[in-house]
Symmetry: C2
Subunit: 242 residues, 2 copies
């Protein structure tokens, strides 16, 4: 009996996901984009000291040593960049992607333009929605975070980070777009490097920020669809010349 | 001596304004837009009961009676829509614009695309920056407000309202655009009618919302340039058909 109940539950979940997928596809169908359903993860990590160390090193142009392994002094090694867990792993920048996929089960998607469909937006803060995005020969980490910067007032923060150095990140522009209920919100910026720690980008507010009321206006049945596009930063070069 | 000091102060102010005007023009020069320098006004009004009455009437499709003049029962009369002052004036919708210009000295600008340059962003909340914008045969009220929705955390709220009925407002789309420091933020929506009270639009958060940190990133020397464009809402019709 329990087996049948579980089977029925799983079928219902599949129907629900399929329905959400269809809805997101309808909104963004004009561009024929790939829709990725991203489930939330309750954030388990809180290690500001590690982040501070990572950021300082990134600013100095040095790859940061791991804060948890003081015996290791190889400057080529970077700590795990997963925003969810305080993970003791460290390795070369080139293998960060495979570590995130294998150890933290973060999905990776291909394509210049995709739709990130974050489900269960009502879950309490702190909650993260994370995927990796492979595009233009590089991998990016997209993080949507629900966080209470002001106690009792959760906000949503969305940013894109390059799994690469800050110098490499300067060559790209990412765009996040919300489009629903006759409202459209677009954020365009240069991605930060994962060496600069996602926590500090969010605490600086240098990302797409949504109050709960605005997030609700853009949500459909508890899910938020974010259109993502990455380009090489020609627009910014043209702007600088102006 | 005092006269010369004052003259010198006035000349300095003019140079400062000219410099700000030039800077805003440089940012938005590609489109050859008109730049309007808008000075802040400390908000003197706080009359939530009047707003509630106005909004309820607007929702019911009835032009609201003035809350302050209970003896008058002409349903064609609307109260003063100025967001700054609790003004006892009332009149027909057609003469609201001339009342706002003459009594409240709110400037009016012509053109499909203009740049709204709000000065002295550092001033404490509550502060409003307001102009009217004449475009496509109608007049719109642009309101930028600095307000502490959460105590000790001021935010900026920007919205555009049609000086007309909610049905007329549905025919338009307005766009607000910030563009600086390799970041771009765009908000597009249907304007609300001034009959729906700006205070409730802002308290609902159904507008462009900026945290102080993001406002600083987009500001230049204490001024925030917002590109404004109004179109008839063909985009939304196309979206609804999708």
């Amino acid at each position: 009996m329990l087996f049948f109940t579980q089977c029925f539950g799983a079928v219902l979940d599949l129907i629900h996901l399929r329905f959400q997928h269809y809805k997101a596809k309808r909104v963004f169908s004009a561009a024929g984009q790939l829709v990725c359903v991203v489930n939330p993860t309750h954030s388990l990590k809180y290690a500001p000291t590690r982040c501070a160390a990572v950021q300082t090193s990134a600013e100095q142009g040095v790859l940061p040593p791991c804060h948890h392994h003081e015996a290791v002094h190889d400057p080529q090694l970077v700590p795990c960049t997963c925003p969810l867990f305080s993970c003791p792993w460290e390795g070369h920048l080139e293998v960060v992607v495979s570590h995130l996929r294998q150890t933290h089960r973060i999905n990776i998607l291909q394509g210049a333009e995709i739709v990130f469909l974050a489900t269960e937006m009502h879950l309490p803060a702190p909650t993260d929605w994370i995927i990796m995005h492979s595009c233009l020969g590089h991998q990016f980490l997209l993080v949507l975070r629900k966080q209470e910067k002001y106690e009792g007032h959760p906000q949503f923060f969305a940013t894109m980070m390059l799994i690469g150095t800050p110098t490499q990140a300067d060559n790209f522009t990412y765009r996040l777009e919300l489009n629903r209920n006759q409202r459209r919100l677009k954020w365009e910026a240069t991605p930060r490097s994962v060496l600069e720690c996602v926590d500090s980008v969010i605490s600086d507010g240098d990302c797409l920020v949504l109050n709960t009321s605005l997030a609700q206006l853009f949500s459909d049945n508890g899910s938020l669809a974010i259109g993502i596009a990455i380009t090489t930063s020609k627009v910014h070069n043209a702007e600088a010349e102006m």
